[in-house]
């Protein structure tokens, strides 16, 4: 088996999914963003975005903070150090594999 094919197995499946990859890429460039921003930029619906965020939170890649601005609830999202490292590694792995 060649090295490129072997490396495919090492790719982080949590980040590799297109929806989650969009989320992680967007969050990698900011300190914090809210749910609405991610929804606007990714074009995903609320349910799909929520499930992707839950998966990323479960993996320890995203920190979710629920706050209020006045009476309006706001969900703030931040990439954790582990998430940042996973994204960098994913990009390196992708370059190596392809």
């Amino acid at each position: 088996m060649n090295a490129g094919v072997r490396n495919i197995g090492e790719i982080d499946r949590v980040v590799h999914e297109p929806g989650r990859l969009m989320i992680v890429a967007l969050l990698s460039a900011v300190k914090q963003a809210d749910f609405l921003y991610l929804q606007h930029e990714t074009g995903l619906n609320k349910g799909t975005l929520s499930s992707h965020l839950a998966r990323l939170e479960e993996a320890g890649y995203v920190a979710i903070e629920k706050t209020f601005q006045g009476k309006i609830p706001r969900t703030l999202l931040q990439l954790t150090a582990a998430g940042r490292a996973a994204f960098e590694k994913y990009r390196r792995d992708l370059k190596r594999v392809l």
Binding site: L21, L26, S28, A33, D34, L36, Y37, E41, I72, L98
Partner: protein, 194 residues
């Protein structure tokens, strides 16, 4: 490979393009230029023994004006942009905000040096002001759309054509017009979240 990497890079760079999605950079700078022109104009028309000619009165007015413009920018983000397309906090905000200022300062210095070499330092103040505004617009009015080149050309033309006394007002109005256009397009293309 290149395609996937470019697509990822596009998502990584999107938040940078979001900063001025509502035209707040242009509106802030335009209001600042018009405000300074107004202070200057007031200084010229009121009688020399009036309160206005005391240095502290002008300092208070300047601080109030800058504070008001800053708060108006914050209000635009809070009540218009964030409810429509979401909130983003950037890392190292001070460094990011200094980029247009540093670029404009470099432009002013470069213009001065060029004038020094070509014309022995003989230069209209408005030429430096025009160069500063030209570079500031090119850096601060991102993301650049085709119609923004028109405003850039207008600034370039104004550098040489507008009378000294009205230069600040002219540049301020150009920035305000560009900011209002960006804001109008943004409002038309987005809807407030339900």
């Amino acid at each position: 490979m290149k395609e996937e990497e470019l697509e990822i890079q596009d998502y990584v760079s999107r938040p940078c393009r979001y900063v001025n999605i509502d035209g707040s950079n242009e509106l802030t700078w335009g209001a600042m230029c018009c405000g300074f022109y107004f202070v200057d104009w007031l200084h010229a028309i009121v009688s020399p023994d009036s309160l206005w000619h005391r240095p502290w009165a002008q300092a208070v007015c300047m601080v109030a004006m800058v504070g008001l413009i800053y708060l108006a920018g914050k209000a635009l983000k809070r009540y218009v942009t964030y409810p429509r397309t979401g909130f983003v906090a950037y890392p190292d905000t001070v460094k990011r905000r200094m980029v247009p200022v540093v670029a404009a300062a470099v432009a002013a210095a470069a213009t001065f040096v060029i004038a020094l070499v070509l014309r022995g330092g003989h230069l209209r103040m408005e030429t430096i002001l025009g160069a500063v505004n030209f570079v500031f617009y090119a850096v601060a009015a991102q993301p650049f759309r085709p119609w923004k080149y028109g405003f850039l050309l207008l600034i370039a033309a104004g550098t040489f054509c507008v009378a000294d006394a009205y230069a600040l007002l002219f540049f301020g109005l150009v920035f305000l017009a560009s900011g209002m256009t960006t804001l109008t397009l943004y409002l038309r293309q987005t809807r407030a979240a339900q």
